[in-house]
């Protein structure tokens, strides 16, 4: 069985079949990209995986376990982290606190333990320090040091997207879902991000599902590309194969050229 797979996944909103009988396998530690025109159902697949939506039919398996029916927080505890297309950060918290929130499932301090955080040697303080060190490494990795203590709401768009990546990484996920991470970034930021996504796979050992509109980025870093349109699969293959597929050229790339 594949490391991560979705099988015959379907969901409709009213009469609209947003995701229609979609299946694919993702191997451990690969970068698996999903492409398709606007409204084709890419984000909906992520929402189904995260447990935000529940499918009408189909299954989602990771390491042999079906994730369908689990609430989003349970899915997170299984080792799946994600970023959002329309940034969902904690705007009135600092970058540090946003990333520390990524450590939530790894921390044990309860309400009483927290209340009694008196002194450096209290269990709560020791746990805080330990996890802050970890988060600091992610801050260094994504070069967020200069905004470490700033409120996320005041950051530029590109930085905020990065903070989301950092927060997802802080979960120490097995699988990371990235929904258009490069949207709104300038070329330089995109180049950095492309390298970091590679590092996240290599150094952190994360399996990555990536939704992107930037074809250069997709073709450069993906192991497999899944193309879809209007909730249905068009094709699945290596970047080179998918790029040549006539329907992809028509449905997706064609539209890119026009717009």
């Amino acid at each position: 069985m594949a490391y991560f797979s979705i099988e015959n996944l379907s969901i409709s909103f009213g009469g609209l079949k947003a995701v229609n009988n979609i299946s694919f396998n993702v191997e451990k530690n690969e970068i698996f990209s999903i492409i398709g025109p606007n409204g084709s159902g890419k984000t909906t697949i992520f929402n189904l995986i995260s447990g935000i939506y529940h499918p009408d039919a189909g299954a989602i398996h990771m390491e042999g376990e079906n994730l369908v029916g689990k609430s989003p927080d349970r899915v997170a505890r299984k080792g799946i982290a994600r970023t959002f297309q329309n940034i969902e950060l904690f705007a009135n918290a600092t970058v540090m606190d946003n990333l520390m929130l990524g450590r939530h499932i790894h921390m044990k301090t309860g309400i009483f333990g927290g209340a009694f955080m008196f002194g450096k040697r209290s269990p709560a303080a020791r746990e805080e320090v330990k996890h802050r060190e970890r988060v600091e490494r992610i801050i260094d990795f994504l070069e967020l040091q200069s905004v470490r203590d700033q409120f996320v709401g005041s950051l530029a768009y590109g930085k905020r997207k990065l903070v989301e990546v950092g927060r997802a990484l802080a979960l120490e996920p097995k699988v990371m879902l990235m929904d258009e991470p490069s949207a709104g970034m300038n070329t330089e930021e995109k180049d950095d991000l492309t390298i970091w996504i590679g590092d996240i796979r290599e150094d952190y050992g994360v399996t990555i599902l990536l939704i992107e509109h930037d074809m250069n980025m997709i073709m450069g870093i993906s192991d497999h590309v899944f193309a879809m349109n209007q909730g249905e699969k068009i094709t699945l293959g290596t970047p080179a194969e998918v790029q040549k597929h006539p329907e992809v050229v028509k449905a997706y790339l064609g539209e890119e050229v026009i717009s």
Binding site: A76, N92, H104, G114, E128
Partner: protein, 356 residues
């Protein structure tokens, strides 16, 4: 980067020497205050500190977690009644009774938190408001709770009488030290909670519940926890309040009191412990001192009394507390939605960059 950082700095109680210095100054002043306070002012301070405890707890729910709550007089009542009844009916020592009462209030908070999982904004406001009213009416109808006649607080013995350890506090100033110590402790607890896992989870839920869920925060647990924590605070405050008043009846915990609590938090500054304290101090002073004794205000006092007699009801000065409260609230919302604490942060920023 091989610069070694001490991450404890981030979470230290006193993040700078200046803060530590002023905290010590404030504490010395607070502990020395009874030397010059009149009995009346000791009573007023006690009332203020009790309200500080409520506001600090309520702000965790309203400010940090983003849940509206209009029924905290209910938890306050539970704290007061439970503490007194545990002492008088079951002879439980004061501190144990206070803690048990606070946990009872927290349990009710947890129960009220359950419907809150499905309610938002105005619906949650109505549900919590109904809770506050229900508590008041239930208490009024039960003989054990003293019915409409109310209850008398017993002697404030903070020892353990069963072991022959008696320590009875009779004076206002004695109560002042007791309440001050508990207020400081409860405030420190809140500061710490907000710096650790649960506090961050509360803020996460407020800012984006969807993102909170996908990073593994269980909304059911943390929303009900926020209700329970803030109810716990109100419970502790209620238990102390019983002894500040000495005598209370269901009407003491009227709906208006819930609203006053909420005003304290909004006026002081949502989501900030310092804001809660500022709001509680200011609103309590205005409502229970300044506006109550309008005729003693220099120059305008007599005029206001005349106005009251001429245009408002004959019941007198109570009008001014309500009008004053309304005006403060409107003023804050128009001029400083972040509350007094928000204004203070701005002033501080201004001076930091001045004169550049």
């Amino acid at each position: 980067m091989d610069m070694k950082r001490d991450y404890y700095e981030d979470i230290e109680l006193f993040s700078s020497g200046t803060i530590l210095f002023w905290t010590v100054v404030l504490l010395v002043a607070l502990f020395a205050a009874p030397l010059i306070l009149s009995n009346y002012h000791a009573y007023l301070f006690n009332l203020i500190m009790v309200h500080v405890i409520v506001a600090v707890g309520l702000n965790i729910l309203v400010g940090s977690t983003g849940q509206i709550a209009l029924g905290h007089a209910g938890f306050f009542a539970i704290g007061a009644y439970a503490t007194v009844l545990l002492m008088t009916e079951l002879s439980i020592p004061f501190f144990a009774a206070l803690i048990i009462a606070a946990f009872i209030a927290a349990f009710f908070g947890f129960i009220l938190g359950l419907p809150a999982l499905r309610l938002e904004g105005p619906y949650l406001a109505i549900a919590t408001l109904a809770f506050g009213l229900a508590i008041m009416h239930i208490i009024g109808h039960v003989e054990l709770f003293g019915g409409r006649q109310g209850l008398m607080a017993p002697a404030l013995n903070i020892g353990i009488p069963q072991l022959g350890l008696d320590w009875e506090i009779c004076s206002e100033k004695g109560k002042y030290y007791l309440i001050l110590s508990i207020t400081i402790l409860m405030t420190l607890f809140a500061v710490n909670i907000l710096k650790t896992k649960a506090g961050r989870a509360f803020v996460a839920i407020r800012d984006s519940d969807i993102a909170a869920e996908v990073i593994g925060i269980n909304l059911t647990i943390y929303k009900t926890l926020a209700f329970a924590v803030s109810a716990f605070y109100a419970g502790v405050a209620g238990g102390l309040f019983a002894f500040v008043l000495g005598f209370f009846d269901p009407f003491t915990f009227h709906l208006i009191l819930s609203i006053i609590f909420l005003v304290m938090v909004v006026v002081g500054g949502l989501g900030s412990v310092m804001g809660s304290i500022t709001g509680a101090v200011l609103i309590t002073y205005l409502m229970y001192d300044l506006f109550k004794n309008v005729d003693e205000i220099p120059v305008v006092g007599d005029l206001m009394v005349a106005v009251s007699e001429q245009w408002l009801t004959v019941t007198g000065m109570d009008n001014f507390s309500m009008i004053g409260l309304g005006l403060v609230m409107i003023g804050i919302i128009i001029f400083e939605p972040l509350g007094i604490f928000g204004a203070w942060i701005r002033v501080k920023k201004y001076w930091k960059t001045w004169p550049f």
